[in-house]
Symmetry: C2
Subunit: 459 residues, 2 copies
């Protein structure tokens, strides 16, 4: 028999026979009858199931523990005067799988730290059920935004032999026996014996390959896992996370900001529409005012202001800064917070000092700044970072020389400037950062199904 | 000025002013006028642009080479009596980026082997433009199928410290300096000094973690990159590829086949509808009859037959086999080919001998076979592989013991059987295999943007 999804049953306006499968969240049994709260994962919301001693197995059912999986046949009955709009009157309840008494996920409050020790069971709690549903819906929102606008989704490679990104930030990969590494005549590891015939890494970005595809499809995006070796135990760092990297030909810095703003609003709207119960849960239990915060973004026009002018505002601010703002340096978390409060909304900070930004960014005519942009949002700081790319080959080569970026292994990338190059721009968005923003959850470990952080690689 | 997409212009039914940006595919210049074929990546199809000596820069334009990027202002003029239904009469043509004379992608036939040496430029050819558009559209089809049915998209981790899959098939990853590895007292590598405090790999499957999420959300899927160290240079092997792994609670083998069949038909239909020009190109230039092949799948009812009965048919077949079919062994490519021709359509082969299948599969009552299923399709062989999982903890532990699968590091997985387990099933589909099937392209290197194979890790 095909099972009904609780998410659909909860929208019923008339009574009907239903068949559900799910897991018992609570069981309140009395002498003659009882109530089950059942969740089937289709929505955060449970359905209430009423059963009584007309069931042949009433005594057994009344002892079913939290976590037991069951199938239930019964009638959906509208109960407009009760707390929940409907319930199921069960005619048959069958245990599908028992649940041990030592089940760690009991119907009580567990700390997030405790639940991190049970990453394989925590999706069965309300919080993680909500967070991972929002994560899934947000991923679909990203794909829908780009695909409906004709962007090409490109799977850039993760394995790379070009260490232009700074190989110290990348994981090395090998098929060699690490206890018996082959050595060359200089007693160095002989990577010619490795699978790819040379040293290989797992990359932290698909941007360069993405740019080559933008020179064929104009509008492309990547969306995949990314790796950093950073040995950093903070609330916002993980060694494996997902990233979105769109790249657009014929698009300058202003066009880039248009797209970033439109995309963020689209994703927020999509999640509010398609994960309503889950967002409401987060609004109630994770970040009070979450929905207002997100709706405010939808209705705002993002400010666009240069790094220079931001520093002017910071310098004039009646604030004693921990880090004094300067025209040459990055801005700190406290500055980001002040500037989003100052404008009471998201702020695009543009035209950064070239010394603190990457080699492929377009140098502005002042020869001091680059056409880069960071989007900072209230409560979360930086959400996206992007730039117009230097499309002029000579200028790009000059910058590479200045910054000691080797041409070895990326000459193919320079072909994008040799053969029909054009103004183009792109940005990167850390997907977890977005999910933290959408849910109000403050620790990146709580928005990744099985987080990987230093000294922590379980499951 | 916002650029128009050629894909949309080509559907125009009335004339209008247009502004496009794109790349010149060909330029046929005569004394007084000329024709450009321009592609902007929004579709495989080019638009024809007519220009004449009223342009101030007519002489320069007439010398623009293949590959040059241009912006063009002009009027879309309907030409119902010509080969193409419309063309642009240019009033302004501007070079955005020149293209060297040595541009490798000239308007002539290049072999696929040649183009593999230019993976960063080959998306600018018709073939790869079509293939990678189909790949992108097919990825969206997969997400749309699952999300519209309430499945949760889960990002299972790629980094793992559990080597239950057979660590010899996985890449090792490390942050240690491989030329100066720290050693422990036994002169083995001291992985306690590595980032995760122990040895780590890049995994080849998210199934086990996926199962834990299926026990919370019922219906889930993964879609992400996957890695194998196989040192194999064939048309169908790559060391990095993408895989889809759905997992459904409350779903048995029959239910699994229903989903596989429905999903495949959905994806084919979606691609036929949303990548029409690209599929037509493949039908004409890659695999004659491709569209008929795909439409036949849509209209077929997939056969369901046991491995035992397949072997019966093979044994009776009037064929001299290279590999004699037996009830105990896997079936070979020649057998797959015969059986799909025999039934003239896709075939689900079920209930395989347990000795040749994985430890987590449900052992049938005969204690000889497992509830596994492979889907084989005409012309392509195996497209999906899946099984009902052994949900009974004791039986699962027994199988693990028989097959020497260590419990170390996967006790968390066994919790899915301890706490509210249930009948559940899942399958894996190699995404590249699907794209090869959808395009008719026969070498996996030609459906991956930047393929990684032994001794081959460029870009």
């Amino acid at each position: 028999m095909k099972r009904d999804h609780i998410k659909e049953l909860l929208t019923l306006k008339e009574e009907k026979e239903a068949f559900i499968c799910g897991w018992i969240r609570t069981n309140r049994a009395q002498a003659q009858f009882g109530f089950l709260n059942v969740n089937d994962g289709s929505t955060l919301q449970n359905i209430q199931v009423v059963y009584d001693n007309k069931l042949a197995n009433f005594l057994e059912v009344s002892k079913f523990r939290t976590g037991v999986s069951v199938s239930i046949l019964g009638k959906v009955v509208l109960t407009p005067n009760n707390k929940q709009p409907l319930e199921i009157h069960a005619s048959e309840i069958t245990m599908l799988g028992d649940c041990g008494e030592d089940y760690p996920i009991q119907p009580k409050r567990h700390t997030r730290e405790f639940l991190r020790e049970y990453a394989h069971l925590r999706p069965r709690t309300n919080l993680f059920n909500a967070v991972f549903r929002i994560r899934s819906v947000a991923a679909m929102a990203v794909h829908t935004y780009f695909q409906s606008r004709g962007y090409l989704y490109v799977h850039t490679p993760l394995i790379t032999c070009a260490d232009c990104e700074g190989s110290d930030q990348m994981f090395k990969i090998t098929t060699l026996d690490m206890n018996h590494l082959p050595l060359d005549e200089n007693k160095h590891v002989d990577f010619s014996k490795d699978l790819f015939g040379k040293q290989a890494w797992i990359t932290g970005s698909g941007q360069l390959q993405g740019e080559t595809f933008a020179m064929a499809f104009a509008d492309i995006y990547t969306f995949g896992p990314t790796f950093r070796t950073e040995n950093s135990n903070t609330q916002t760092h993980a060694n494996e996370f997902w990233m979105i990297e769109p790249e657009m030909a014929f698009c300058d810095l202003e066009g880039l900001m248009d797209i970033e703003e439109e995309m963020l609003k689209f994703v927020i709207k999509y999640v509010l529409d398609n994960a309503k119960a889950e967002i409401e849960f987060c609004d109630q239990f994770v970040e009070k005012g979450l929905i207002s915060k997100l709706e405010a973004i939808l209705n705002s026009k993002f400010v666009r202001i240069s790094h220079h002018d931001v520093v002017d505002i910071l310098k004039k601010a009646p604030v004693k800064w921990e880090f004094a703002p300067t025209y040459e340096d990055d801005i700190s978390k406290e500055h980001e917070r002040y500037i989003t409060e100052y404008f009471n909304g998201p702020v695009f900070i543009t035209n950064w000092p070239k010394e603190i930004k990457a080699w492929y960014m377009k140098v502005n005519d002042d020869n001091k700044t680059v056409a880069a942009v960071d989007l900072v949002v209230p409560h979360a700081g930086e959400l996206m970072g992007g730039s117009q790319r230097e499309e002029n080959l000579d200028k790009l080569l000059e910058r590479m020389k200045e910054l000691n970026v080797s041409k070895d292994g990326i000459d193919w990338y320079l072909d994008t400037r040799r053969y029909g190059g054009c103004v183009h721009s792109g940005f990167g968005m850390g997907f977890e950062r977005l999910i933290m923003y959408l849910t109000g959850v403050e620790n990146i470990r709580d928005v990744i199904p099985f987080p990987r952080t230093p000294k922590n690689c379980e499951y």
